[in-house]
Subunit: 401 residues, 2 copies
Amino acid sequence: MDNLELMRELSQPSPSKIVFFVLDGLGGLPHPKTGKTELETARTPNLDQLATSGICGLAEVVGVGITPGSSAGHLALFGYDPLRFTIGRGVLEAVGIDFNLEPKDIAARGNFCTADEAGLVTDRRAGRISNEKCTELCQLLDSTVIDGVKVLVRPVREHRFVVVFRGGGLNAKVTDSDPQQPGVAPKVVTALEPEATSLADVANKFIGEAKKILAEQYPANMVLLRGFSHRPELPSMADVYKLKPAAIAVYPMYKGLARLIGMEILKTGTNIDGEFVTLRQNYADHDFFFLHVKWLDSAGEDGDFDRKVKVIEEFDRALPRVKGMEPDVLVVTGDHSTPAVLSGHSWHPVPVLLYSKWCRPDGADEFSESACLGGGLGHFPATQIMSLAMAHALKLTKLGA
Amino acid sequence: MDNLELMRELSQPSPSKIVFFVLDGLGGLPHPKTGKTELETARTPNLDQLATSGICGLAEVVGVGITPGSSAGHLALFGYDPLRFTIGRGVLEAVGIDFNLEPKDIAARGNFCTADEAGLVTDRRAGRISNEKCTELCQLLDSTVIDGVKVLVRPVREHRFVVVFRGGGLNAKVTDSDPQQPGVAPKVVTALEPEATSLADVANKFIGEAKKILAEQYPANMVLLRGFSHRPELPSMADVYKLKPAAIAVYPMYKGLARLIGMEILKTGTNIDGEFVTLRQNYADHDFFFLHVKWLDSAGEDGDFDRKVKVIEEFDRALPRVKGMEPDVLVVTGDHSTPAVLSGHSWHPVPVLLYSKWCRPDGADEFSESACLGGGLGHFPATQIMSLAMAHALKLTKLGA
């Protein structure tokens, strides 16, 4: 029996509430000068107090040595084994903008990019064009029909868009056109299975037409596609955990993923403060809240150690507001590490803090990677964080007589 | 290869002896006033001395966040994955009273209960009638034949009894009649598979007849049945570990479980002292002893922190007697946690102490949850405790050349 089946068998509804904070890219590595990570550098009196009365540990998100992408990381945090459940990038983007995917649709993530006269990509993000420009360009490309397949194009943010191929019977097993680096030409989309030839053909024709349509739109004069995928079948959190879950997230992908597992997406602002306001306003209506804080990861990806520290401190200052709501279980963790010194996601296990009046305290008296290393939760798989949260919320019955 | 197969391949008989103490519900949570758990509060000089020279750790019994029932917890301790091997409640009760189940028998756990004039259950335990009364009532119900199925009824303790349906070809997939709460009527037993219709019919007829027979037996004027089950196929400890194992336990269920995995059940007294006497008297005849101490769990379930502390201290005082026998390996652990503050089983990992002259010592200088957290065994699955015991008893050959 896998973990989700076990949860489905043992979970029961109850009035207790779980607030689950995901600080995106929380885990870090020491600053070369101080020997302290971002989390260890940040002044976090509220998190430290929670760590003192709660219990800490380190979670392996996907597996030892494995660097999770954002969707894999989040799936693991909600108890879904990311090696078993995979969500294509295209589907994530589509769901994240509230695009209602039909079961046979195939979605791909698109970038507007800049290509030079030789057709080589000079900027994979077309100078991060404005949202308005993105919308305008998507309208130019939208709703063509190629070989009987309708091609829908929708803006996401800046240079990002979604393209959906709707035409029944398409197989999504094709390669990306996005070369993932500048200085080279976009790749030709290629079928990985014979049945995927039609999609590859349609995609290449779409890319060719887009090139013509965008010819005068420098810097956004070309498109790159990646992550062709079908909508996956994921059991809902309501089914697995008997929860009525809600998501508070600013960025589309996280909302999209939350919606895929049945969370209600709450309208929120554009920063941490706005997210906490949303939490308070909706607190009575749900028993599980996923609150996503993106900006640590952005800072880490930019290699900006100090900015990541500041975001952690900003979160810490906001934290007392949730203590006032007195959730039965409070979880603070990350979907992966994004050490500023690596300027990207990494494989390092993520710090986990769980607070509940039923946790067995450990010696951790601050929230940091080093305190978590000796914490009472030990070193454990991230797919079990939800089991712990459910247990401490007294939402699980015992196994067997 | 799973753990049992690995043990079967590597284990070999030897004269060394393992004594395995299960302190039922050993793990705890801090007392709100002192911040110390039951085990941390108890004065345990002998356990502390063993912890100092031995090695400690914390074991996850079934899995992170999962609260084990008694049978699941014990199966795990003996190396049997409780998610793979499940034992119905009825079978456990039957085996626990030395009832010789035939392969096709179906057993259910029964409660005598009190029903009011409207047929609603007012007390699921019929005021915990005496053992004598239970025996008398079972005799009234025993050995009827319904639709060709013989129905055997045997007393357990107080309000508890076993009912065995013997008649070949019955399928055990039926629901309970026990509603698990007072104020409602008993449920009708219902087939979960078409093949189980005959058992459901027989069970409902039996319940109907019992109601008539018990009409004048207030407060025990009705029966509730649950846990209809076949005897499971469990490999024996002799087969897996090449051991000649014996069990010393006072309560039927633990004896029943031990017998299911091939332990010999030793006659013993009714308290810790009696159990240690039994251990000494039979010490020459076996190489593995499971000694079960029930009363911590009972105290924990009653929410009686101080009584649980006292039982731990009583066990500690008895412990030097076993040191005199000089077993090669001594294990002290629990089948789950039963924190008095929760008044019930819980998911918290259980403390484990292993003593042998071959263990690599750690820094633990007392037996407590907090010392175990930093112990040399780390945080590990309870199904591996037997592997450790076997290894330290030098009963396992190496893997491969």
